[in-house]
Subunit: 205 residues, 3 copies
């Protein structure tokens, strides 16, 4: 086993885990938003809270980096991981916002497949964060995220093809396309986070 | 009072102030562009000049960083501040461009609220730049910018809701949405610049 | 002549040249895609292969940086150049994808001008990569890329004006605007790469 030259400050792993747990909550709220008879205003309210808590966790990470003399891995990687997770929350929050502001009533069923991908990605990411400490079993995490991102990419193309198939009016396409792109941004965000984790693991190995 | 370990090269503050003054000019040109009976071609011509001058000020900053042995604050922060300010100019220039190229004749009144936010942000930013030297009274600057960005976010959502309310045809929405998004990008740009200034102040304190 | 303090690892230049050659292939495939009676599915298949090979070349560059004790120029510049080239490939791949997924049948003739700009940019970039080694004759490369990017910008505005001229229905505009923007992203990508090369040359001079 490798000797650690840097003391382990567990609080970083706790903060990352907390931040990632907010993403699980966000993805579950998206699933609720897409369900029939969803109370859009109530979901939006809870999403706003989740987004706010994610923001606070991100700021706590940044403050801790700034005030720590030693950090468990490179400062820039800690920033990148924190802001990478926060960006995903913002993208998920935007989906809810767009559905509300555009007053979209009917959402194509294809969107649910993408939200299922996001829920799976969020769960995997949240369970990978505590494993950063010992840097073990991370391979399966990023391999699975990459598989899910490929799946998400296929969903995205299929949904776009559907939007442009002639079943929707231009105005509906304009609204739905923004929503579909925010969902894809969230999926891409999970891949970016997995890449950051992979890079951290490579440096530490 | 804290001792300065680095000599103060005033020219950096002068260059940032000059660059920010071009943003004030740009925001005023946007206000003119939205006024009734505006001469769109003439405003576009003057915006192009302002954008060109902002570009030159940004390049002067980069050249000075590259040729200075010591800089008043971290090189990367100077780059970030310079390009952050320049990005705002580009976003404002794009608004004028979009109005011209899309031949938009009627602009919804909501856009003027957003341009008023931009004018206020630009004034605040330009008056904060010389204060970077002594690092004083910057708190009120970034608190006010954050308040304005929140205001801008509300304007943005209200304008989008208006665009999708059914009062506009899809083709008009397509044009106006681009313009509305460029305006929001400019507002966001001011918040990003305020964050960079805050980070510089934290490091120097 | 300047003394090299760092040994020259030729393989970096070879890898960058290989990566840039894939961009030439990509730009040529775009030209084929726009030609009358093009077999869209076949072009898409070959574009996917080119994109895959570009990905592999980029990863090879990253692996080599990570495993090299000394590098011919700054690690971060090598990353930036590699990912800058890869981003262009992604943008070109997206154009083909959008034409397929949106099932666009008729493409405005203006797009061909932009693809011609991309072909010229790709050729110039591919022939500049081996010259990174001796850092000579790079000025003419980035001056010409900047000229082409200006040309591309004019093409872009002209094409947008055409799209919004009233000749196209909102649905067609929605599809074509995405394609036109991906093309512009590719052109901008070549300018970004030229800027990275210029920065490397400035540091090394």
């Amino acid at each position: 086993m490798r000797l650690r030259l840097r003391p382990v400050d567990s609080s970083f792993y706790d903060l990352f885990t907390e931040l990632a747990r907010h993403l699980v909550e966000g993805a579950d709220l998206l699933a609720e938003m897409l369900s029939e008879d969803a109370d859009h205003a109530s979901v939006a309210e809870r999403m706003r809270e989740a987004e706010h808590k994610a923001d606070e966790a991100t700021h706590a990470i940044v403050r801790r980096v700034n005030s720590s003399f030693v950090t468990p891995f490179d400062r820039e990687d800690i920033y990148a991981l924190g802001s990478g997770l926060d960006d995903i929350m913002d993208a998920m929050d935007e989906v809810v916002d767009q559905i509300l502001v555009y007053e979209v009533k009917v959402l194509p069923a294809e969107l649910s497949d993408q939200v299922a991908v996001l829920q799976r990605c969020a769960e995997l990411t949240a369970s990978a964060m505590p494993r950063l400490k010992a840097m073990h079993s991370l391979d399966e995490y990023w391999i699975e995220i990459n598989r899910l991102e490929n799946q998400g990419d296929k969903n995205h193309r299929r949904t776009l093809a559907k939007l442009f198939s002639g079943d929707f009016k231009a105005m509906e396409v304009l609204k739905l396309k923004d929503i579909v792109e925010s969902l894809e941004e969230a999926v891409d965000g999970f891949e970016r986070v997995a890449n950051i984790v992979e890079q951290i693991a490579v440096k530490e190995s």
